[in-house]
Symmetry: C2
Subunit: 253 residues, 2 copies
DNA sequence: ATTCCATGAAGATCACCAAGCTCACGACCT
DNA sequence: AGGTCGTGAGCTTGGTGATCTTCATGGAAT
């Protein structure tokens, strides 16, 4: 069925907006992540990049500026643009994480993220227990319901889980914690979908999430912290299976 | 037709060198932080910004792209560029923190940073106790020596303190923790210089830092965590005095 | 070995076209 | 008659391409 809307333009449903800029930036970033432009090497001249991606030099330059602002490349005046080491990248930036995508497994990042979550989320849960508004607790409840209802849909479950943890960080009323939602999203996205077969774990996770909501309602800091910790124990198990599945051949440093 | 005479517009002192781009970006960012372009408002058209800052539209556009990539503004196609809410800014980005500068006191950020540091740094210290290389411990020792020797110079002391904590996060061998060096730098920069009068506190801080180095040498996780916690207690006191000094009139949200 | 210069690539500007969001104006329907 | 809705003009950003300027760099000349 070809949707023929009378007034609108016809046969143009793919790219309503010519998002050339975003596309080019993402493409270059992906190419860098894919080691097409290896760390430490200079990438082609701007004019060559124009041809390679079929866009004007302005677009290329703006893309490079964006990548540079995220620490992925460093423009050296009249010399070229060099790819920075991965330890210089702003890996807390949501866009960077998006560009890395599945290659996050090659970054040894998920373990670091889990460690960071263990340090942060229990504390955030404590803060949430004493600071969350009733509205925020209601939002958490809704996110939990979405997790429970979307139990069979992996993507929906992950989204709901991300929403839950985002709400939790919001409820901690700490701007720094809130900024870390990006890495948590990445961690959940790439840890969860591997453990979709273990349904009983999901049930367990759902129970713990509900317990956390209850703890926040009771303003019970200790219980909230405990729930968060147990949540992360589950996440650790999921991560272990995900890593095992995703890297059949372990590349050595 | 406007001849690019050397004097040009005197609105700003940015008008020379190939550093035009960085200067313009920083200037716009500062103007946003200074509420010259309030949150939620549209900033002037790109052509007007060209005149205001005395540069071409290309430079303006690249600057806006950078600011957009850091969540400070959002470009709406063919409509304008709107300033995002401060909670959307990538406040973990070192550049953003630099642009905010002293106005960090108006962001209610320092308290959040301290809370985050309390969650993270003790854990990072534990990791460092079991993961730090001898080289990294030596770097920490040198940073500590710089703190001790630069005792009288406030700027030097702060720099050394920042270097110390940076080394500590590096020694934790956790990429996520390492990314947080930016906020710690900001916190130290704007908390310490206010308490320079309290010399005895600095002595105390220097002692604790040395103790931490010793704990790492002994691979004593508990001691390392304890040192880090006490360090943050001192930081909390410094922050309290800094805030008191720096905000005579408390601005409400 | 030092100095100088040709080279080439990024930095920056300008002029222009494309496309779509706004808004006001006018026609049409109730 | 009045309100709603289509429509088009105009404005603003998105994108292109040509052009000029500025210097890092490396090789040639001294």
């Amino acid at each position: 069925m070809e949707g023929q809307e009378p007034q609108a333009v016809a046969a143009e449903q793919v790219q309503r907006r010519p998002r050339v800029q975003k596309n080019v930036t993402r493409t270059i970033a992906s190419d860098i992540c894919a080691d097409i432009f290896p760390v430490g090497s200079y990438l082609p001249r701007e004019n060559d990049l124009c041809e390679r991606y079929g866009v004007s030099r302005t677009v290329i330059r703006e893309s490079l500026k964006i990548l540079e602002s995220k620490g992925m490349v460093r423009g050296r005046s009249r010399v070229g643009t060099v790819v920075c080491g991965k330890d210089e990248w702003n890996i807390l930036d949501a866009q960077v994480l998006e560009w890395i995508g599945e290659r996050i497994f090659e970054f040894d990042l998920l373990n670091c993220i889990l460690e960071a979550r263990r340090a942060i989320e229990p504390v955030a849960a404590e803060f949430a227990a004493e600071r969350a508004t009733v509205q925020e607790i209601a939002d958490l409840e809704r996110a939990w319901q979405a997790m429970r209802d979307g139990e069979r849909d992996v993507a929906g479950f992950t989204d709901a889980d991300v929403a839950f943890h985002t709400c939790l960080l919001k409820a901690s009323h700490n701007q720094v914690f809130l900024q870390l939602v990006g890495i948590i999203q990445a961690a959940l996205k790439f840890s969860l979908h591997a453990s979709n077969e273990a349904a009983e774990r999901r049930d367990e996770a759902i129970d713990i999430h509900r317990e956390l909501v209850e703890a926040l309602r009771m303003r019970d800091k200790a219980a909230a912290r405990d729930c968060s910790t147990r949540m992360l124990d589950l996440a650790a198990r999921d991560l272990a299976t995900a890593v095992k599945q995703h890297s059949p051949a372990k590349p050595v440093l």
